[in-house]
Symmetry: C2
DNA sequence: CTTCGAAAGTGAACAGTGTTAGCAATTGCT
DNA sequence: AGCAATTGCTAACACTGTTCACTTTCGAAG
């Protein structure tokens, strides 16, 4: 029963195999699209056969979800790294860097972005979901945390009147902000900003601006400025 | 050679068969998701076999694209109907109705919306595309037309300075606005508004607000108000 | 009215998919 | 050394898109 504490060589090679599966699956996704990420193709690339993969994932969907979870982590790490490029005393600059990094990651990895965020309506559901410990919160938390810090700085002018129907909903969101006693109408601003940021990135990453613009970056910068103004940090 | 002008019974039954394929494919999409829209399933539902469908569509992808094209038409018709609920003398009210209808359609038909707009990153590409006569322009044109009419009303305050890199891009967009000599910086406002509208609808339709809100309608109304303000019609 | 040809649909077949069952071999722990 | 878990394989089943050869149907021209 030493296997629990000690890495136990077997665990190591298993971890290595799991990692190779992830890397192979992702490579197929990037190079040939989602339809190419098939059990047999992954196995072929790894020099083994498809049923062997069932020793590592209980199904094709399980493998895809593991890949999605891994990508959520990568995105969260990238956002945190961008955040740490600026001092904690400047939450506005941090937020700017994080939002730009979110866009950059989405544009640099469109297939991965699609797997994470264009999937609730597709076959295999890899969406963030609702549970507290969901992989989606790992990267969402980075942004929400910065929003809370921006709120502490003051400058947010939340709407005075709030539809009563929102109260219950926003209270649930507040649960995720451990300990922070953020007013509900401020959380409303958070959600609105989140939606706008995500909408801007998604529309661009999904290519729905290609018909008009080959370089939508200035448009995104304008949107980003709006978002930060709403969050009380108009310094550009 | 009378078959060109006259409907010629054969054409009629063929049209009927094509229509039944569309309806069956859509029903499968709605009831069981995109993965269920398979040639054999469609044929089974219609009481025939899969190869028979090749008399109507050259491939599975071709059938899906035909379905997408049909859905673009339906959406365009729905938007036009919402537009016509208000007099042409009130382009602001018309725009409001069209935007609300776009959101309503997306929420009422999430699977269809996903087929149309979440697909560039998926297997079968059913995105609008760039060509002038693309099905995507059928519904996009409804919105752009209203934007032009709002511009004629005045009230748009476009940015004075415009990045030179945008000029070429926006000139291409202007080509689609037959005859209208819209200034480029006004077209910039069009594109920005389009992106914001689409981002708001897409984020909500893809379920990325479910974690926070069970009823994001007030948030959309707020966004819509912002959009119309940018387009020079702040009357709510 | 007969004949002819295009159109529509079928069944068989091929390569590919996810998945399961059963078997062989390697590996690590006692 | 021997036991048992782990790992991977082959074979097989049901499904997918697609092609081919064949039959049937049906509209139109002689």
């Amino acid at each position: 029963m030493t296997s629990r504490a000690a890495p136990s060589r077997r665990h190591r090679v298993r971890e290595h195999a799991l990692d190779e599966i992830q890397r192979t699956a992702r490579r197929l996704l990037v190079e040939q699209g989602p339809a190419a990420v098939t059990l047999r193709a992954i196995a072929r690339e790894m020099g083994m056969t498809a049923p062997g993969l069932y020793r590592y994932h209980s199904s094709h969907q399980d493998l895809i979800q593991a890949l999605a979870s891994h990508l959520y982590d990568e995105l969260a790490t990238a956002l945190a790294a961008a955040r740490d490029e600026h001092p904690a005393s400047e939450p506005g600059q941090r937020m700017r860097a994080v939002c730009r990094q979110l866009r950059r990651w989405a544009l640099a990895h469109p297939r991965e972005f699609g797997l994470l965020f264009a999937k609730p309506l597709t076959d295999t559901d890899t969406a963030p979901g609702n549970a507290a410990h969901d992989p989606g919160w790992r990267f969402g938390g980075v942004i929400l945390e910065l929003m809370v810090q921006l709120w502490h700085r003051g400058g947010i002018h939340p709407p005075a009147d709030l539809d009563t129907a929102w109260i219950t909903q926003l209270e649930e969101v507040r649960e995720h902000l451990a300990g922070e006693d953020v007013p509900l109408n401020v959380i409303y601003v958070f959600v609105a900003s989140w939606a706008r940021l995500f909408g801007a990135v998604a529309v661009e990453a999904f290519g729905h601006l290609d018909f008009a613009l080959t370089n939508p970056e200035p448009l995104f910068e304008h949107t980003l400025q709006d978002i930060l103004t709403a969050l009380g940090d108009p310094t550009g």
